[in-house]
Each structure stands twice: as structure tokens, then as C-alpha cells.
Amino acid sequence: MQMQRNFVKRQPRLPLPHWVRGLIVSLFSISITMLGLLFVTFLIGRVMPIDPVLAVVGERASQEQYEAVFLELGLDKPLIVQFFYYVADVLRGDFGTSLLTARPVAEDIARVFPATFELATIGIFLGCVLGVPLGVMAAVRRGSWIDQIARVVALVGYSMPIFWLGLMGLLVFYGILGWVGGPGRQGIFYEDMIPSVTGMILLDSLIAGDWGAFWDAFSHIILPASLLGYYSLAYISRMTRSFMLEQLSAEYVTTARVKGMSEWAVIWTHAFRNIRVQLITVIALSYANLLEGSVLTEIIFSWPGIGSYITTALLSADMNAVLGGTVIVGLVFICLNVFSDLLYKVFDPRSK
């Protein structure tokens, strides 16, 4: 330890503290990635076979009106200039107006995002709570029946089309057994009864103190959330297992066992502590995937989240909404990646 400190001291003094430099570098790399993301969506918007001017003025506009809007949208400028206009708009939070809802896209997204967030958060919670212990047990009892079960669970999760599993879940648990609520976030009886505070119905109904509405919303969210939870469980349990196997074969584990430590302590206080860092990355990644993977789930369960929003917009050629939604989802994706990198640095003493 002492030696290491001396080594650091001998390095030439930096004009800025180390972490500030790190922050600047990572901010720079995020902004480059963001710019690239915007460029791709911009290009997609440009190669669209839909005329952006016609989308604004409508089919019956006169030539003058058409040209006025053409100039107003800046379509006469070079492509690169148009791109900078686009970036400037996005930076101001302006994604244009949705053709379908006739409202600013940013406003629409702020309205639908809590629904997706609520669903994905419960999903990742289920995935972690069940997936991590399953993966640990599978690694500890390698080759036993629990390992086989974990293997089958993961294989089925990797191979099953999520929208089909959702349909089957609806058929069995809603259609035949009647255990859960049907598609949508609420039953008809409770619709629009709860004042929207956070946009997440479970929280809102708790804030309003309406238990009936809470249970109704719960019965609607539990099936799609379990579905998403299952998919993240498949991935998380598989990764947990292989991380744990790596640790359990390490020498310090043998040492701990030889010292006479209980098996519980060896597994949870030694081996598991060392996979936390890797697990955080895996969980952040699958959380990001849930936010996106909910596109198909939201369609199946008529869930009014960002996935349904993008798809509906897509099918009605509402390009501003599609691109705005794509940028937001991409942004969330990037932020989660950065966040997991940061946690990595906090939890992993080696990276300090």
C-alpha cells in the first residue's frame, strides 16, 4: 500500500484532480455518442419516404404555402446545417409536434414514460430478487437439480418469443383462471379516478390512499411485470452463475473453507462480495433492455408506455414521435451504461 502511494506521488502533477479529468473524458465520450445517436435518427428521418412538408401543410395546400413551410423547416439549407438545427432543437427539448396527438412530442413522452418506468422497475426487481439467488445456488450446487432447473429456465427465456409468452399468459391467467386483470393499466371502474402525481399508478393510488385502485392496478401490472422479470431473470441468473463459478474456484475460497468458515459465510460474505461489481453491470444492462424490450410487451398488454407510443406513431407515419421516442430511449440506454460505469468505480477498490 505504502509503495503504491509513493508511486502515485512520483507521477508528474496534473493540473486537475484525477476525478475531474475522468469526468471530463467520460462526459466528452458520452456527448460524442449522443451526437452520433442524433445523427443516425436524423438520417433516418431524412431518408423517410414521407415528405415532411406535406405532413405539416396537408395534401390540399397551395404551392405558396408549401414553399413557405419548406423554407420554414430549413429544408433548402445543406444537410449538415439542417443537422445542427436538429441538434439545437433537441438540446432545447423540442422534438417537434406529433401528428397523431397534435401535442409536442416531449410532452407526450413525459406522459407515457412513467408507465414504462413502473413496469420495467417492477420487472427488474423481480428479476434480481429471484435471479441472483438462483444463479448463486446453481453455481454452488453445480450439476445438481437446482442447476438443471436454472439451465432450463434460462434456455426457455432465451428462446421464447416474449409477445407469444405474454399472449399465453393472458390466455391462461386472465382468460381461463381470471386471476389477474386484463390488458391496460386499470379496470374501467377505476379509470381516471386517481389524480396523477408521479404518473405511476401504483404510487399515485397509494398517495391518494385508495386501496381499491391500488389492488386493481396491481392486478393489471403483475402479469406484464412478471413476464419482463422472467426475461431478466434468465439473463441475470446465467451471468450470476458463471461469475460465481469463477470465484468459487479461486484459492481464497479454499483458504476460507480450510480456516473452517461456514459454507454460508464463504458463499455470501466472500465469493458473493466479489461479484457485486460485475453483477451491477449486468443488472444495469438488463434494466436498459427491459426499458426497450417492453415494446412488444406493451403492445400485448395495451400498456400505454413509450413502446406502444413509438409503435403506434410508426404505424401512422408520425415521424417526429418515432424519432423523439427513439432518441429518448437511446438516451436512457446511454445514461444507464454511464451510471453502471460510475457504480463500478465506487464499488471496485481496484479502479481507485
Binding site: I32, T33, G36, L37, F39, V40, T41, I44, G45, V47, M48, P49, L155, V156, Y158, S159, M160, P161, I162, F163, W164, L165, L167, M168, L170, L171, G175, R238, R241, S242, L245, E246, A288, N289, L291, E292, G293, V295, L296, I299, I300, I310, T311, L314, L315, A317, M319, V322, L323, G325, T326, V329, G330, F333, I334, N337
Partner: protein, 305 residues
């Protein structure tokens, strides 16, 4: 081949291969033997082979025309006379549609499996071999595509290009290449500095020759494993696009689109949506099983899972 051994097996397992060709075939044979002992992988391979055969002989195997409607015979249940898996909302035979749908699934998978890894290999090896600015620019682009959520990006691409199988293939490939590029680059970096590359370079080989003849062959095996494991994801993505109405268009018996058609009657006529889903599940499961087995054979360092 002057010293022709007595049996093929002996020739393939010879300790002292006489020619480059014999050594190559022997390596294949050894891999095959170890794959053969993995029952799950063989089950996967069997399903995939069956799928290929079914797709190849679809018109002869299918009991009915997949497009002929028979409105007097709609939504017949499983096991109806002449319609083993029942009929859909337009009275078309579900089994025949599934059989013909195998062609579409294979077509999509084969095209994506050709385009995405080759594109990734090109970008990755050039980036890794060239280094410097080229490497930085190419890897930035790769990062940007990796930063995008795949399905959403594919949706946006299909929206821009128009719905259809070819565009779905393009969209899936565009979102699938970055991991291959990353992988090929990492392999290239380790190969680039090895002695035998320096030796060839001293003999006067140009960068193109080195990349194509000496770097690509070494990247292939990990690429194959990755492609096989990705196949399931490709099938699911294609089915998802079909389900959303952005892949193959309606009369075509694409499995995802069939689920989407059956969705409307799911509570009363469950089999219409169930059967195509089972088909998708079986095929992607088969690819996953085979991929796991291939990984154990070709890439033993990762075989903990």
C-alpha cells in the same frame, strides 16, 4: 494422399497428417466427435436439419395450399379431419402455413447471418489492424450503434425503409453487426503482434493479404459460435417485427405475423396463435442448444455456462 489409409476413420484420426487437407479435415472430425457426444447440441442440430428439409420440400410436405381460403371451414380446432393443427380465421390450414413459414424464417436467418458477421468482421479487422485514427473512428461508430436499443433501432429503420422481409433483414443486420466488430477487433489486436504475422510481413505480404489470408481464418471459429448463439435472437427479432406488422406482409405465412393474426381470437380459439409460437420457440431453442454445444467445442475457455 499417396499413403491412402485403409478406412476413412483412420485417415481422419491419423496422428501424422500427410497433407494440409488431411490435417484440416482431421480437426473438423475431432470437433464433430466432441460435438456428437453432447446430446442437447445434437437435438438442436436435428431440429435445425428437420427445419431445413421441411423448408426445402415445403410444397410436397404441406397437405394444403397455405394461401387458399375456405371461409366455410374457419377456426377449426386441432385434429380436425384433414387439418391436423386446425384452420385460421380465413379457413387456411395452419400446418401448411407453418411449413411454408419455415422458408421465410430460414431465409431471414440465413441473410442476417451472412450480412451482419461479414460486416462486423470487415470493420473489426480493419479497425484492429490499422489502429490509430481509423480504429478510433470505426470504434466510435460501433459504440454509437451499440448504444442504441436494438429493437427500437430496427423499428426506426423499418419505418424509414418501409415494411417488408428484405427491409426487416436489413434493419436486423444493421443492429446486429457491432458485437461482431468488437469481437473481431479484439482478436485482431492479439493476432497482429504475433511473430508469424511479422514473419509474413517481412516476406513482403501487404495488409490486405495479411488480413484476408491470416487474420480472418483465426477469427472465424469464435464468430461461428457467436452467430449460432445469435440466431435465436435474430429469429425472435424477425418474429417481433412480423408481429408488429413491419416484417413479412399479411398473406405471407410468416410465423410472427401468424401470431399477430391469431391474437384477436386468443380467448376463444387459442390454437391459432399458439401453434406458430411453438414453432418459433422450437427453432430458437434448437439454435441455442447447438450454439452452446459449438461453444464448448470451439471455444473451451468460456464453457463455464
Amino acid at each position: 494422399m499417396s499413403s491412402q489409409p485403409t478406412s476413412l476413420h483412420a485417415w481422419l484420426t491419423s496422428e501424422t497428417p500427410a497433407s494440409r487437407r488431411q490435417a484440416r479435415w482431421a480437426a473438423f472430425y475431432k470437433g464433430w466427435l466432441s460435438l456428437k457426444s453432447n446430446h442437447m447440441a445434437m437435438a438442436g442440430l436435428a431440429i435445425i436439419l428437420a427445419l431445413v428439409l421441411i423448408a426445402a420440400f415445403a410444397p410436397w410436405i404441406a397437405p394444403h395450399d397455405p394461401f387458399v381460403q375456405d371461409l366455410g371451414n374457419r377456426l377449426q380446432p386441432l385434429g380436425t379431419e384433414g387439418h391436423l393443427l386446425g384452420t385460421d380465421s380465413l379457413g387456411r390450414d395452419i400446418l401448411s402455413r407453418l411449413i411454408h413459414g419455415a422458408r421465410i424464417t430460414l431465409y431471414i436467418v440465413a441473410l442476417v447471418a451472412l450480412i451482419a458477421p461479414v460486416a462486423g468482421l470487415l470493420v473489426g479487422t480493419i479497425s484492429g489492424y490499422a489502429g490509430g485514427v481509423t480504429d478510433m473512428v470505426l470504434m466510435r461508430i460501433t459504440d454509437i450503434f451499440l448504444a442504441f436499443p436494438r429493437l427500437v433501432l430496427a423499428l426506426a429503420f423499418v419505418a424509414a425503409l418501409g415494411a417488408g422481409i428484405e427491409n426487416a433483414v436489413l434493419a436486423i443486420s444493421l443492429t446486429a453487426w457491432p458485437p461482431y466488430a468488437r469481437m473481431a477487433r479484439a482478436e485482431t489486436l492479439t493476432i497482429r503482434s504475433s511473430d508469424y504475422i511479422s514473419a509474413i510481413r517481412l516476406q513482403g505480404a501487404g495488409p490486405l493479404r495479411i488480413i484476408i489470408k491470416h487474420i480472418w481464418p483465426l477469427c472465424i471459429s469464435s464468430l461461428i459460435v457467436r452467430v449460432t448463439l445469435d440466431m435465436a435472437g435474430i429469429i425472435l427479432a424477425a418474429a417481433g417485427l412480423g408481429f408488429l406488422g413491419l416484417g413479412a406482409q399479411p398473406p405471407s405465412p410468416e410465423w410472427g405475423a401468424m401470431i399477430s393474426e391469431g391474437r384477436r381470437f386468443i380467448l376463444d380459439y387459442w390454437w391459432v396463435a399458439t401453434m406458430p409460437g411453438l414453432a418459433i420457440f422450437a427453432v430458437s431453442l434448437a439454435f441455442n442448444l447447438l450454439g452452446d454445444g459449438l461453444r464448448d467445442v470451439l471455444d473451451p475457455k468460456d464453457s463455464t455456462s
